[in-house]
Symmetry: C3
């Protein structure tokens, strides 16, 4: 196909086409959107919070008994200001969607931020226990410090416990921005709506999916590739998806879920149950049960017979 | 083992060994390679394009009806220059491999860049529909804005639709640099060669693999861990792999593929078919079919009996 | 719930609560910890080493036959200094844990660093062969250069071969910081303790887990989602996990493991065996064997009959 070089009128024409594509929707562009949380700032707030939750972990600035008080105060003051800014943008954005002219987004942002900050000691306590759960649950861990410094589990659960607090306060956009950031760097996908108890541990983690309405008890351990998912999408009379209905599993205390297990629907896995790897569960499992899949028929043949070549998966 | 400290002659000897290791190949070093695309610049081009495709999404610079025209022009001019530079380097690199002294890489780079830019309105239209497909397909989504701002699917499909345009123009190196960047941050691995129709949605995404010669129709939805892979590697008479042969599946319109399903080979999944989670498919599936695996025999035993302990997968 | 705005006494109270939470443990905070490797510096060392292992790959600075010698010397000198610093911090950290007042961490750090550097030619040779294995094993690869520039496999195996050398020298913290960095950007999780032979190739990679005591021979190829894991956690008489016991599989030469296969326990996969996709293996497999799962009963029904709706996995 012959191609003539771009003239400036070609460039003009292309500009027009692109501008035209912006005019017929407002869902995928942000023109004239005055209020939108800024991802970089949200991630910066997460960084500051991580320093508060695991002080000194970066090794970059020495934290000592002498300066720890002022470090904590400094972070609290910074986060209070920056988080309130981002929350206010998120609330104004939702106000615009839902047309609520009588609410004061600035006041609501300030209140939400302070409510969140008052939860920080609780979050820290939960995370201390999560770290201990990881150490107790993983023979490859040499120290709790190693876990804090490098385990993807800690990044994922720390971000989750922060995002969840904002989710329950109905803050728009920001919780999901946080959780998808953690998803990107750890491969662990926990929706901010999920409720997770104490001493939670995910080993390895890549491929874990925990849905919005999942509920997880205390002392729960799981491995890579586990899915706590939903089975169907109820729709309302207008054919619109019903959002927020409980549709994900509940795991009671002391449950262990091995790698690649898939647990679907609003079912309950009873206290102390063990879900074997690769198992497919769609009905509730009683307390103390141990589930496993029937051992797959493995066929062992020598290459010369080649009766049943292994399933090859390549690209 | 006693160890003597490094003397400068030790350092000299080590330097020699390392230099020697460079001399006997040219496939893993880039010495005297004048022409190589620079990854940082390729990623910077992707950033600029994302701003064009979803203007204002970063929230960093206010985009308004007043400045949008000049913003678009500015990005087009910048990308035209920088992409042409990188494409020229990639073409020169391939020229060197294939010894084609008569082609003018600079002219070819300019033409390819302008051809690519003329496709931007099309890419944008496709992405608007991909965003809508995500919103319609995921009850956890609160708004299309949330999807654009945070869903890994959008990063993966936006980068793919860009990389694919460059792939079909036979640009070397750059398409794969782009797709592996998206793979790294989303866990979604889509080869730039794959052809993907309208209104495509991948929910969660971690572990999805879509091979080079896969073809996907319109309104297709899939979940985490789905593989569209190949089954064997035909080799030519020299024993070399035959590259580029169609060896991946074709998914027709309206197909849904649930989590962890594996679909292999140059087969067709017919219009509207539903492929169940964890299913293994090696033969074509007729239109409208619903496939599922036989429910695995789950054994439920109490801990005291411990007859068939769950398969434990840890590390 | 009525909420009063934060007064400065509220802020004071919150600061106190947070400080209190730091006092009752030392496993999750780093106050008064003088010696801790700095993650950013460890990652910077990895960058320098990657430049040494694949000189010129970034395309940023021209590497020529004229300057290559001084580039290599410069990197060796820089890494020797910076790696010794980080190793010294890691050793001091462990010294504190294990209370060994008679060792000289500075001298040990220097020796370890020089021992590591003397292994660089070996690492480079291994990586050249890994790249060739990738090219020979993947029909989608256009050139070895493309593999070095963009394949996640190369990042993962390069970091592993570096981290492993430090692991066998008993360097604390740093090997795992390196491997979890690679895990984060590639989705491939290889514990630094794993021993991996020549010409190793992981295609796609997302979800691969290779445990601490795994042993892999030469010419081994595997695909996404493969797990080489352990089956149980022996505990000692105090109820503490026994760490470091061989508990992961051994794969002999020429083994191929297809996607999502799970191989568990201290078992051996014999030379040349082929492990099919999605197979679950808990016992040793003889040399030359080909394992596959029994073809799952796939049920094909039309939508109108809807007898056995596909297993839907969504969230």
């Amino acid at each position: 196909m012959p191609h003539k070089s771009f003239s400036s009128s070609d460039l003009e024409k292309l500009t027009e086409e692109i501008l035209k594509s912006y005019r017929d929707d407002s869902g995928t562009n942000f023109i004239d959107v005055k209020n939108l949380p800024v991802r970089d700032k949200v991630l910066s707030i997460l960084d500051s919070l991580k320093e508060l939750l695991f002080p000194g972990y970066t090794g970059k600035r020495p934290i000592t008994s002498d300066n720890i008080r002022s470090v904590v105060q400094e972070i609290l003051v910074t986060v209070r200001r920056e988080l309130a800014e981002q929350i206010e943008l998120a609330l104004r954005f939702k106000c615009k969607l839902k047309n609520c002219p009588n609410c004061d987004c600035k006041v609501m942002a300030r209140e939400s931020t302070e409510k969140f900050l008052s939860r920080v000691p609780h979050i820290r306590q939960m995370l201390k226990d999560d770290v201990q759960a990881a150490f107790d649950g993983d023979p490859a861990a040499q120290s709790t410090e190693e876990i804090v410094l490098s385990y993807p589990h800690i990044t994922a659960i720390a971000v989750h416990r922060v995002a969840h607090e904002l989710y329950v306060m109905d803050i728009p956009l920001i919780p999901r921005m946080m959780s998808e950031y953690a998803h990107s760097i750890t491969g662990i996908d926990i929706n901010p709506g999920a409720k997770i108890g104490k001493r939670f541990f995910i080993d390895h983690g890549t491929g874990v999916v925990i849905g919005e309405t999942a509920v997880i008890g205390n002392n729960v351990k799981m491995y890579q590739g586990v899915t706590l998912g939903a089975v169907s999408f109820p729709k309302d009379e207008k054919g619109q998806l019903i959002r927020s209905k409980k549709r994900h599993p509940t795991l009671e205390d002391d449950v262990t879920v091995y790698a690649e297990a898939t647990i679907l629907g609003n079912i309950t896995i009873g206290k102390g149950a063990v879900i074997g790897g690769n198992v497919w569960i769609r009905e509730s499992v009683p307390a103390g049960a141990v589930t496993a899949i029937a051992e797959p028929e493995s066929m062992y043949v020598t290459r010369s017979r080649k009766k049943n070549p292994g399933k090859k998966t390549e690209s």
